[in-house]
Amino acid sequence: MKKLLALVMAAALVFSMAACAGNNTSSGSKESSKTESKTESKTESKTEESKTSEGGDSGKLVEINLPTFKAGENVGAVFFLPQVERFNKMYEGKYKINIEEVPQASYSEKIKQLAQQKKMPVLMHTGVDNEWFKKVAIPNGFAYDLTDWYNNTPTKKFFIQDSVEYSTRDGKLVTAPAAVTRPMGLFYNSDLYKPEKAVHDMTVDEFIASLGDSKIAFQTADNAWCSMLFLSDLVANEEGGIEILKNNVDDKTSDFNQPAIVNAVTKLQKILQENASANSVGAAYADAANNFMSEGSVVILNGPWMSADFAPDSSDKWSNNFDGANVHADLLPGNIGLANTRGWGEWWVSAYATDEEIELAKAWLDFVNSQEELEAYMLAEGGSCPNMEYSENFLAKQGETQVLADLSAAINDKTQFTPSILDIMPTSVGETEVGKMLPQLIDGTLTPEQFCEQLSAKAADALA
């Protein structure tokens, strides 16, 4: 009977809570979610203030929570968590960043919902949902204008001008621009594949011929990442292909019937049928990487951050005699590097943060864009900073990491950089549709022309 009583009491409690809340929603959120969240933000900033002022009394420590997916087991955590530690140590007693681990799959949704309530965290990653950022966050003034910070930061010289321009919307700098660009290329296992000349000096046909019976690790699941990178290279090698890739990043395209793309898809079909690893159909990125790191294939296309997988301390990922030391990197056939410099930087700042929090955010941005931190970042995850004179220490260390040295050596004045074809597809097409159609391209259900037609139709539907 006691149990029952407790139960009933719990029920009554929840119920009364529910009843109050019920009134709130049914009266409030039909159309007036905006006004609601306005009042909401007021009370919120009040509590925020009281929090920081409390901190102010006891030594002026400004503290923020930073939800991030670069924590726990995430690959990005290896570099990011120690970086936050370094920051906390440098500003000990003044600023403190506390990490809150968020699953990568939920980060974007969480930020969107918090933003709707105007309660987002002070510092946020960009690029998680680009379209939302462009269509909702910026027009509604969620992003703090970083122009002042940009004009005064000692790190100003490092930023890539393309990214600065791209991040400037209506005269406001909505993200801290990018300083580092990380061109994507390919990795090959020199134990099994020894090209006669550098891959970036070959044409696509020469490259495929040089492979012989060896395979390339491809995937079709999710966004078909590895396959799409190759398709981007194929398009870039077609007449007018680079222009198509470069000109459609901002507004996306629904015209995939252009000859350059159809020709590239025709070639991709043959390569997927003849040169792809056995598990390509249905493979997710992890399956492709797994295949490469178990000598099922000799080539994989990816960005320089994959170098971490080839370092000795990742050896638990290797099997079947695979040795990361044998891996070399190069740009793609036709001297193509895949990089999009017309993009956001890594961070944006909440417009609803308090002044102290903004100061902290600015200190953080100064910190991560300092020469030491940028160099540490590039050593850990690859990339180059075009506007920086590297320190000797950096160059020496970069030379030690085979694949990073390979990549920086491969870049010459004839190298062409282009965005990937995923960058010109509407979100749903890039994220799922193209991957769903690839198996049909491989088994011949779709001809390259039909493939491109359907891709265009789906893109048109998404953009409508």
Binding site: A18, K135, T220, A278, A464
Partner: protein, 305 residues
């Protein structure tokens, strides 16, 4: 509260004196469910209906565009496939899935050796989240390392089928992720079977009926409600099925295994929330229609005893 005083309209609702006296209690008992509904479902349903007639990105003000979303939806080939899939899956669900569940329930009712164990073990697949289950099946149907194809290869060594990635296999691969997991059906039906008064069985036996006749003439009709409930559960689950597909085929190859929730999520990805909600409304209406039909066919509003 004014509702209570309202005179009964229509013949269907004919309350006895006894019931009318209980109105206070009846509505009191309904209250928690109604509050839950108002809190968690009322606003989303209204939003869904209203914004399905607008162009809306989910945040900025919606712009009325009439039936545009609906005409676009109905002319979308993926939607046509979705409806076809829904019909096929519903029929498979009603006849094979519910059929299997009822069969197991009828067997368990006779308490053969190991019936408790079977009943307990049958539950396990339902204990696991849909996401984990989808992942497991992705491996079972894997061409290279999957159990199924390796099993088949013991007999026919050259067998190679990419279950989730080739038509028409993908449709069946998806079907197999839920087809035999009918424990809910079994439990619901078993509950009704156990509630059948023993005298009925005895009376039938005395009249000379064999087991088959007892099962088909007495047991099954008396489980009418449970079976109807199972069918409704199954079919509505098919309408709302999302993870099992998204995490295996994502609706592919091509659009082979698309269904309405996938179209909806895809549209939200592109910030076409108005369009997404049109898909939601259609899904909703299909569900209502199916429910009404099954309710009528199975006579579920009439008491069994």
């Amino acid at each position: 509260m004014s509702k209570i005083k309202m005179p009964d309209k229509g013949k269907r609702v004919r309350a006895s004196k006894l019931e009318r006296r209980d109105y206070k209690w009846i509505y009191l008992f309904l209250l928690p469910s109604v509050v839950m509904f108002l809190m968690f479902y009322f606003v989303p349903i209204l939003t869904m209906f209203f914004t399905s007639f607008t162009k809306w990105d989910g945040f900025n003000a919606p712009v009325f565009n009439g039936l545009d979303n609906y005409t676009r939806l109905f002319s979308n080939p993926a939607f046509v496939i979705s409806v076809r899939n829904l019909i096929a899956w519903s029929l498979i669900g009603i006849f094979l899935h519910v059929g299997f569940g009822v069969l197991v329930a009828l067997i368990l009712y006779h308490k053969p050796r190991g019936w408790k164990f079977t009943r307990a073990v049958f539950m396990i697949p339902n204990v696991i989240s849909a996401a984990a289950w989808a992942l497991i099946y992705k491996f079972i149907f894997n061409n290279e390392m999957g159990v199924l194809n390796n099993l088949i290869r013991m007999i026919s060594p050259d067998f190679n089928v990419q279950w989730f990635y080739t038509s028409p296999y993908a449709f069946w691969a998806i079907t197999f992720t839920w087809l035999f997991y009918a424990v809910i059906v079994t439990l619901v039906v078993l509950g009704d079977l156990m509630a059948i008064p023993e005298e009925l069985n005895e009376a039938a036996r005395i009249d000379g009926a064999n087991q088959w006749q007892i099962t088909t003439r007495i047991h099954l009709p008396l489980c009418r409600n449970a079976i109807g409930t199972s069918i409704i559960c199954t079919v509505t689950s098919r309408v709302a099925m999302y993870e099992a597909i998204q995490l295996t085929t994502a609706g592919g190859p091509g659009d082979d295994t698309m269904n309405t929730p996938l179209i909806l999520v895809k549209a939200i990805m592109d910030m076409n929330n108005g369009y997404a909600n049109a898909a939601g409304v259609v899904m909703f209406l299909i569900g209502v229609i199916i429910m009404v039909i099954i309710n009528k066919v199975m006579k579920m509003n009439e008491p069994v005893y």
